[in-house]
Amino acid sequence: MKIDIENISFDYSPAARVLSEISLNIEGAQVISILGPNGVGKSTLIHCINKILEPTKGVVMIEDKDVSEYSLKEVAKKIGYVPYSSSDTFPLTVVDTVLLGRHPHAGWRTTDEDLEIVFDVLEKLGIQDLSLRYFNELSAGQRQRVMLARGLVQKPEVIMLDEPTSNLDIKHQLGISRTLKQLSRDEGILVLMISHDLNIAARYSDSIVLMHQGSVYAVGAPSEVLTEDNIREVYGVDSRIIDEGGHPYIILKDLENEECPDLDNPHTCISPVLKVDESSGPESEEGVTCG
């Protein structure tokens, strides 16, 4: 799968520009994290890729074809999207929620093949026992898996996730991240995720896109992008980077070697070092380049 973002800008009004002339070339099965402060345009960028929003300038090319020439259903067959959260005003059961992911492929009736695909994915993600539970009865971690399952039954070549690890405890953060890594490695899916957790991104990503003020500030392997200078420039936070099993590990400077300033919330001072057995790293020569 090849996505070329050529010089796109997006604004809701001329005075409020969200994205400013972004160019990116993404190729191959890998995990790419999009990082950057709140409001920098990360969600807008991925919405421009799968046609939820239309860039005010520039084009997004999927497999060398302008995305505006694809129908929404054609895009949905290629790109799965896992939103930050999903509405539960009228909750469906898990199986019905995930079945909606078959919409781009399905006709009017739900076929046995659709059901088989759904149950396969539910099993793979270890949530088949939740099949008949209602979506609004699930925990945040379970909901995240259900939304991921919905994206996967689209049988996409790319899956885009908006902060998949937010609201999750550390175990579930690692679980989801590991699942995404496996998906890209075993099934050749390009995973594009927005993240706020620099260490998760550093550990599990093959490439990182760091955004700053509506533009791409840096692109490349985690160790190239997540530098003390870049973090200071983009987030305005001092940090210290150490090498942890070949991955950069970021310690925020004002928390390092200090007594915990907030005794009511001591956990804010603890930054867990991730220990993951699997070896990771880019499996192919393909990667991300900033055009």
């Binding site: 919405h47 799968n50 046609k51 939820i52 129908s71 929404l72 259903k73 054609e74 895009v75 949905a76 067959k77 790109i79 799965g80 999207y81 939103p83 999903s86 509405s87 539960d88 005003t89 009228f90 909750p91 469906l92 059961t93 199986v95 019905d96 929620t97 909606l100 992911g101 919409h103 781009p104 399905a106 009017w108 059901l115 149950f119 539910l122 099993e123 088949q128 026992d129 099949s131 008949l132 209602y134 609004n136 009865e137 689209q154």
Partner: protein, 363 residues
């Protein structure tokens, strides 16, 4: 279940969960048949429950009786006096319930229906203008002119709400407040139109205020039935799109649904169905609101089942309300709209308080 692989067990559970839904739908259908039958027995000729159905079924099959025999009279009275009333109750119940399901899904709002969003009042204003002043937007005379006027009247609040919801993210409560404001405007305009009416026209126009099935004839059933059948078929085919909308707009779009286009289509459909029904029976509140809620509490949110089940539950509510309207002050009659409000509003309140499965959480 021991020894059965998990996958098969889950699959079997899923299928039995679908069967339970179908059983519920069949149960409500039987309820409708029973209530309609009881309604038919209040016929002034002492025809019993099963005999009523025998006459109706024979009539449908084309059976003819000897002129002016007792059977002929029974058949004539049942078919021409009481059957249209049952049919319009079923048609209105189905139509208004579908309007409720569609509007609630389109706006992700459990409180939306034609009554609460001002669509009903818009339709009433359009119809009143046609009746009182003979002023039709489309320049078509007769009852079709009234329907078209009501449709255009219903479309106005529908379009306003679509435009506002496109610009601002509306909470369920805010949308209802907009509905109240729009209803106020339409009621005011309607009063203004009525000022110029003579007493006869005024009576005709006032008929719309509280819905009623009194004096409904077969000729009154044609347009509502036709529009409701078309609307039902379309909405049943659109069930998956309606399900997609409940995921939120970005998710629906990412799964291939052209959200803006689909919403517009839905609102045109709702305006047309609501207008076609309101023109003939007047405003009946709550049925479009309560029926889908009731169904979702029992069957969950999948519109594949919510749509047909709500149609039946809506029909059941209106058949039962009409039956009550006919019994309370027998041999006189009350208006079905009145009964639906008196019975429906407390049920709705109860549903909000009960909040099963997070339901009725409106703010």
């Amino acid at each position: 279940m021991e020894g059965i692989p998990t996958e098969d067990r889950v699959d079997a559970d899923y299928r039995s969960y679908l069967v339970r839904k179908v059983i519920f739908i069949i149960g409500v259908l039987i309820g409708c048949i029973v209530v309609a039958g009881i309604s038919l027995t209040i016929n002034g000729r002492g025809i019993e429950f099963f005999d009523c159905y025998e006459y109706i079924i024979k009539h449908i099959l084309g059976y003819e009786y000897e002129y002016r025999t007792e059977d002929w009279f029974n058949d004539y009275v049942l078919w021409n006096t009481y059957m249209p009333r049952v049919v319009i109750a079923i048609v209105s119940g189905c139509g208004l319930a579908i309007c409720g399901v569609i509007m609630q899904s389109v706006f992700s709002n459990p409180l939306a229906d034609p009554y609460t969003t001002g669509v009903s009042d818009g339709a009433t204003l359009g119809a009143t203008m046609a009746i009182v002043s003979g002023l039709t937007f489309a320049n078509v005379a007769g009852s079709l002119g009234v329907v078209i006027n009501a449709f255009i009247g219903a479309l106005v609040p529908a379009v306003i709400i679509i435009l506002i919801s496109g610009a601002v993210r509306l909470s369920p409560a805010t949308m209802i407040l907009i509905g109240v404001a729009l209803s106020g405007v339409f009621s005011g305009l309607q009063t203004l139109v009525m000022y110029s009416a003579d007493p006869e026209e005024l009576t005709a126009a006032l008929r719309w205020g509280i819905g009623s099935f009194n004096q409904i004839q077969w000729s009154d059933c044609v347009i509502p039935a036709l529009v409701t059948v078309i609307g039902s078929v379309l909405s049943i085919f659109m069930y998956r799109n309606l399900n997609l909308l409940t995921l939120g707009e970005a998710s629906a779009k990412s799964l291939g649904l052209d959200v803006e286009q689909f919403k517009s289509l839905c609102m045109v459909l709702v305006a047309f169905m609501a207008a076609a029904i309101i023109c003939y029976v007047g405003i009946i509140g709550f049925v479009g609101l309560i029926s889908p809620h009731f169904v979702r509490m029992i069957l969950g949110g999948d519109n594949k089942y919510v749509i047909p089940a709500s149609m039946l539950v809506g029909s059941f509510f209106l058949l039962a309300s009409d039956l009550i309207a006919r019994l309370v002050v027998f041999p006189d009659e009350l208006r079905v709209g009145l009964i639906m409000s008196v019975v429906g509003a407390p049920i709705f309140l109860y549903m909000i308080v009960k909040r099963k499965k997070g339901y009725g959480e409106v703010f």
